[in-house]
Amino acid sequence: MDRTGLPALAQRLRRELFASRTDGLITLVLLGALVALGGGFLRWALVQAQWAVVQANSTLFAVGRYPLDQQWRLWLLTTLLAAATGLSWGLLRGRSWPRNDTIAAVLLVALAVAAPLFLQLTLAIQARWWWITALLLALRWGAGRWGDRLPAAWRRLWPLLWPLLYLVGMVLISGGLGLMPVRPSDWGGLLLTLVQSSFAILLCFPLGVALALGRRSELPLLRWGSVIYIEFIRGAPLITLLFLGQNILGFLLPGGLAPDRVWRAAWVLTFFAAAYVAEAVRSGLAAVPRGQMEAARALGLPVPQALIHVVLPQALRVALPATVGQFITLLQDTTLLSLIGLLDLLGVARTVMANPAFLGKNAEVYLLLAVLFWCCCAALGLGSRALETRLNPNPLSAARA
């Protein structure tokens, strides 16, 4: 029976959720379960949970045991990152503000106001977060409005800002060049997790591409070397490789020559992820028809150029989703570092939960970790999807996908 008096939304709900008696029953049961679960969670989060463990240890979770008097360097780095994000965002979008951008801006402002308030940071530190967010949004607006006035050469070069910023960031974090050195063993929390995963992600990609090409090479030494490496790494669990790196290197190299254990772990992560990235890239290479290479060679391109300009761009585009999946796994794998005694996010969490003052506050701490990891992984996923859209030579099919 058609009830024309009902508004469109109610009609739609009726059609999709209460079409028959069974449908209605299923909807009601599921709704009841959702309300019970959600209500229980909210009651716990707002009434029972004692968030003091997060509030008191927020610095530990963020940067671990990084020396207090050197933390200004991390603030500076955060500011630079925010500025670079704002600039890139503005230059990418120009004057337009799509709906997604508005949502992102509102979310950022809400986060900058709510998170420091929830963590009960001092007013001075709250103000820093407000300032950093304001800078990001102001640069987004400014770069979008006036970005097109920049010389074209500059606009083409701005992506180089990011590798440059990465180097500056590493110097700011570790010291040197006139800054007081801060040893890697003092890095911790989110800082260590991000340093480890970004280092491994950046290095494992070129290494993985090289291994994939090596595996398809016609030179036996190169091919078998790559095959043995990839199969060896893929045949061993990451945790055993991490233990190998931590425990055996100390015996192999005389005291002091072995790199710091934080860097050992970073290299192990890199070498581990490279083998998996290599397989993802190889699947991309296999998807490029042979004719592409043959055509490039027929046009007189030498093999390296044919690879760089013709084959790899197509192969990497195909391999992108699998590769990003590997990066996300890598980010989550950094939690294994807590098992080898490093104070990454999980390591810090476990030592915080061992503080007699916060015993038994596991649920609060693990929830915080889940939220932080979800944010990082979601950011990686969103970034990769944006990249896929941009790299797609046929935007119409992308819109449909």
Binding site: F251, P254, L343
Partner: protein, 367 residues
């Protein structure tokens, strides 16, 4: 026998280093033997000179154990194991802050010590024969700093005072652990049949105990005390006086450097002796002044390094005990602050009392 490696000229060892794999056994031997190449001074400890050289003590801790080692919100380490590291750093280097803490898990702790990555392992390690023996882990154990052992916790309201009172009652245990076996053995010994309620994980075990499904729960005493702090009403639960197993938790160094092991041993003995003599962090300066003023107090003067050469014999500063006491206080103070009455764990001293008060803490004479 391994010391024969030291007799070889150092240069030949350098030449061999090129092919890395070939030098592995030699380098390992060198690291394990820790032979001092300069035979000039009386103290033959490569480790001790390495620590002085770098100005830092590298101390392996657990880092995640309530009361023994954990990180404070400000990033500093605290706990009983941590205080042993601090005392050692103070005694060797004169500054308790010069410690690099390494968080180690239970599998890598011995490798970290053997490879020379850490100077001292202060990580709730139970001293056992196979860990001590040269054919085993080849560790050298310092005096036990915490006599742990399996204990039993009951609600105060239950009126249970000893293990015998548990006859015929249900007891919660984690299945497949040595604690389960120890409990069964002891209860059979005292002829008190009971009903074991077995659970897969620690969390399930304590949850069942709190729901009242059993009147007692068993585990290591320090762990029971730690769990108790997270109960809704910690004061309503008590640990029975009986201890079902021996877990002497001791700091450790490598066997191969006896001089360094002796230094650590006597620093810890110093902390224990100080408690026996009533010397605390607060009154140590007054005691030193008293010892300096009164030449009749020969024992005290030697202990505090006012006279004699105990420090020199160990390769430590003459007043190493004073330095350690100023940093962390005597053994009793360390215990009370981290796991005893002054802490959240509220553990009884029990076996960790001084020998003259019925405990096992016993420092040999400083003579």
């Amino acid at each position: 026998m391994l010391l024969a490696n030291c007799a070889e000229p150092w240069n030949s060892a350098m030449a061999w280093r090129r092919p890395l794999a070939a030098t592995l056994p030699l380098l390992t031997a060198l690291a394990l033997v820790g032979c001092a190449s300069d035979g000039g001074s009386g103290i033959q400890s490569q480790r001790l000179s390495a620590i002085s050289g770098r100005g830092k003590l590298i101390c392996g801790v657990d880092g995640r154990l309530p009361g023994f080692s954990f990180v404070n919100p400000d990033g500093s380490y605290s706990g009983l194991d941590v205080d042993i590291c601090k005392a050692t750093a103070a005694a060797v280097l004169g500054d308790a802050k010069q410690v690099d803490f390494r968080d180690l898990n239970s599998t890598e702790r011995f490798a970290a010590l053997a490879s020379g990555e850490i100077d001292l392992l202060s990580r709730n390690t139970t001293a056992t024969l196979s860990r001590d023996a040269p054919g085993g882990n080849a560790l050298s154990f310092a005096p036990t700093v915490f006599y742990d052992g399996q204990g039993v916790m009951t609600p105060k309201a239950s009126g249970i005072k000893t293990l015998k009172d548990l006859a015929g009652k249900p007891i919660c245990v984690e299945s497949g652990t040595t604690t389960e076996l120890n409990l069964a053995d002891r209860m059979r010994e005292i002829k008190a049949p009971y009903t074991p309620l077995r659970f897969q994980t620690g969390d399930q075990t304590y949850a069942a105990y709190l729901q009242g499904r059993c009147v007692a729960v068993t585990s290591d005493r320090s762990q029971l005390a730690g769990k108790r702090t997270s109960f809704p009403d910690p004061a309503a639960h008590t640990l029975l006086p009986e201890v079902l197993s021996k877990e002497p938790l001791s700091p450790a160094t490598v066997n191969a450097d006896p001089a360094w092991a002796d230094a650590v041993r006597w620093i810890i003995h110093g902390l224990m002796q100080a408690e026996e003599l009533g010397i605390t962090q607060a009154n140590v300066d007054a005691k030193v002044a008293e010892a300096k003023a009164n030449t009749n107090l020969a024992d005290l003067r030697r202990f505090l390094g006012v006279e004699g050469d105990f420090g020199k014999q160990l390769g430590l500063p003459a007043n190493f005990v004073v330095l350690a006491l100023k940093a962390v206080g005597n053994y009793g103070e360390i215990f009370e602050r981290n796991v005893g009455a002054g802490s959240m764990l509220k553990l009884e001293r029990g076996l960790n009392r001084q020998w003259n008060q019925g405990g096992l803490i016993y420092a040999p004479p400083f003579r």
